[in-house]
Amino acid sequence: MAAITLGVAEVEERLRTLRRRLNVLTLQHGMYLSLSAVVLAATLLFIAALRVSPQTFAVAAWGGGVVGAGIALGGLLWARRRWVDISKAALLADHRGQLADRLATLVDLRARPRTARLAPVLVGQILALGSRWQPSHVAPRRIPRSLYVLIATLLCLAATLYLARHPRTPSAPTQTAPATVAQATGVHAPASAARQGGQQAAPSGGVQATAPDAVSDSGAGQAGAPSLPDEREGGEAPTRSLPGRLQQAIRHAFNPEAPDDTPPRLAQSEITSGDSGGGKSDRDSGDRNRGANAAHNEHGIPEPESGRNTTEQTHSSHSPFGETATQNRDAAAQTFQGASPAAGSGSNPEGLLAAPGGGPALGEDGPKTFKLTITSFLRGAEQPGQSPARPGKQMSAGGASRTAPGADAALSDRQMNDAALRKAEIPAEYEDIVRRVYSLRADQ
């Protein structure tokens, strides 16, 4: 009888080992899957925090929270359902070890003690078949395959963080300028240039606010967007809510210098930002520009990137503005060919500026804005019976304009006569951009 008891104890001990092994495996599996879901959700939230508006992010964050809670609860229920007790472990061992329900029968015999003359035979048979139901045979894996899922999601998260921290620098940043300024000033730049700029800007973390694709989904984070002032003035809720704070925290984590509600990608800004404080006058000028741009928006004209970002770029210390301006001027010189639109003096783009030669003089001590004296094409509009020369027209070398088909639809008369366009003080960093745009031919 002692031998039987010993045999049963041995069987039970092995079953306990098997049960422990199976449960650990179940726990690992559930944990890895839950963690994978959490990491995946975090990755998506990071991306959402950097790309979408606060409102969208709030929806995504709460939705992600609910889904995460559901996943956690589901994981608990799943683990509970998969939790293995001794009888289940016996059934599993019977099945995988082809023991013909011997273990389940013995476990039931122990649970419901009764007279069983054949129990010793059963124990003996189970022990004789011991090699079939070794725990390592029944549950060969110590680590579930779901670990690979977790690793994959962690790699995704790491890649996301890396790309967010190290945005890919556009190979030809100056090529985005035409599209940028075309958007800003309402000049129809070639669509290919705009698309190119968008394609280059988007992967880099969206810094190129000039790209239409990138700007379109930036929502309130878009500089000069109509919703931004509203959010600042009265719409504090998105930023004070939990998702808003989370989004700001994420954005600050990736760009400590960025303003609270501006996505870091909007600022290409890691290149030029350095003085996040800015000056009051700068902020004022930015606000004025925004106001002017808002006026333009009423007429459906896309507005230039302005606001604090532009003023901060002016005060950049990490990347001196002079260098950027020089690069832009070089690019402008490369793209400047022949006749320019009816701006400046003939084909000389220098005439665009109120202060000739302001570009080279720009520096830390230089003027912060320049006066846009785009009066030559407006002058034509003042002459009765003549439509003003405007961007979008193909200009001959002698300055005679030839209206391109559909060019009239570009700017209405009201827009053309908008005083804000003529009177606005445009930040100095736009000098090169504006100069290049007005030196572009319509077919470029």
Partner: protein, 345 residues
């Protein structure tokens, strides 16, 4: 040759069964599965109903089994005018020491192995005389109860051809048979062997494997061993679910409540009454014998499935639609077993 340890008892059971099979197959040609089922029912303590055409060796099987086990054997040819006393025995006036007294003369039921040939030819009253003997191992004559000596094994035959003037067995009596097996005509090879071996000079006979005195005790010991076979709870659930699934869903005798196994549509359509709990008992006991034959002391799903058809097919009472469409109850049991596969864990 008793088995003093459980392991040796199991081995002894296997050996006895093999020897019986050898003896039976030495006399009976073919019908291997049917013979196995008869032996399973015998060791499970049940009775067997054989349905078969004449001349297929039904009587020979029972006689050979009795000879091999060295047990007493009786045969009753059931006819319309057969009376219950012809089965159970009767009290007769006998002269004892100058006094005349009623003395009980045992009928053919007082034997170990009883062949009730063409049982459906007797009247229900006579058929019912077997009920008490089969179920209770006792008979009551003139108010006196007489115990039958175990082991008691009834093997009844049904002739499905000549149905005129027959009395189909009532369901209550059918339910008392552990198994019902169908004896078919032998195939060509078996037919050739049958006519070859039975037309020679010496007819084959089974050799007893037990001594006459020890045979009843040995058989009872083996039957007790069968009941010691262990059953896991999930297999009890499985057997109960199979039996429950033979009950039509719309019958007023079907118990309410959820079932582990959904009732098959064909069962509801063709079955008037499903199996009784005796069907479940037959499932488990038959499965236990199967397990012992396999050297195991516990049953499995396959053991239950293998005995399900002989254990349940005669317990399903089919309705008129089934009779009209020629539905075989074995087909319905197979449908039930097919649906029960999803219960396996």
């Amino acid at each position: 040759m008793s088995a003093d340890t459980p392991q040796r008892a199991v081995q002894d059971f296997q050996r006895v069964f093999e020897q019986l099979c050898e003896q039976l197959h030495a006399v009976i040609v073919g019908h291997r599965e049917m013979l196995d089922n008869i032996l399973i029912a015998f060791f499970a303590g049940g009775h067997v109903l054989i349905e078969g055409v004449p001349g297929t060796g039904k009587t020979l099987i029972v006689r050979t089994l009795a000879e091999a086990l060295n047990l007493s054997f009786s045969r009753i040819q059931f006819t319309v005018d057969l009376m219950p006393a012809d089965i159970t025995g009767t009290r007769m006036v006998a002269d004892q020491d100058g006094r005349r007294e009623f003395t009980f003369v045992p009928g053919p039921v007082f034997s170990h192995v009883l062949l009730a040939d063409e049982i459906n030819r007797a009247t229900p009253k006579t058929q019912a005389a077997l009920l008490e003997a089969m179920a209770e191992l006792q008979v009551t004559v003139a108010g006196t109860t007489y115990q039958l000596e175990p082991p008691f094994f009834v093997l009844a035959t049904l002739n499905p051809i000549e149905m005129e003037g027959t009395y189909p067995l009532p369901e209550a009596q059918l339910d008392r048979f552990f198994f019902k097996v169908v004896l078919t005509y032998p195939d060509h090879g078996d037919m050739r062997r049958i006519i070859g071996t039975t037309t020679g000079a010496g007819l084959p006979h089974g050799k007893p494997i037990f001594a006459r005195e020890a045979a009843p005790a040995r058989v009872e010991a083996l039957r007790a061993l069968v009941r010691d076979v262990l059953v896991a709870p999930h297999l009890e659930e499985y057997a109960a679910a199979v039996v429950r699934a033979t009950m039509p869903a719309d019958s007023k005798f079907t118990p309410p409540g959820a079932t582990l196994l959904a009732v098959d549509e064909s069962v509801t359509r063709y079955v008037s009454f499903g199996s009784s709990p005796r069907g479940g008992q037959a499932l488990l006991l038959g499965a236990k014998v199967r397990a012992l034959l396999d050297g195991r002391v516990n049953i499995t799903y396959n053991d239950i499935d293998q005995v399900a058809i002989p254990a349940l097919n005669h317990r399903l009472v089919l309705n008129f639609a089934a009779v009209a469409e020629g539905i075989d109850p074995r087909y319905l049991v197979e449908r039930v077993l097919h649906g029960a596969k999803r219960l396996r864990r």
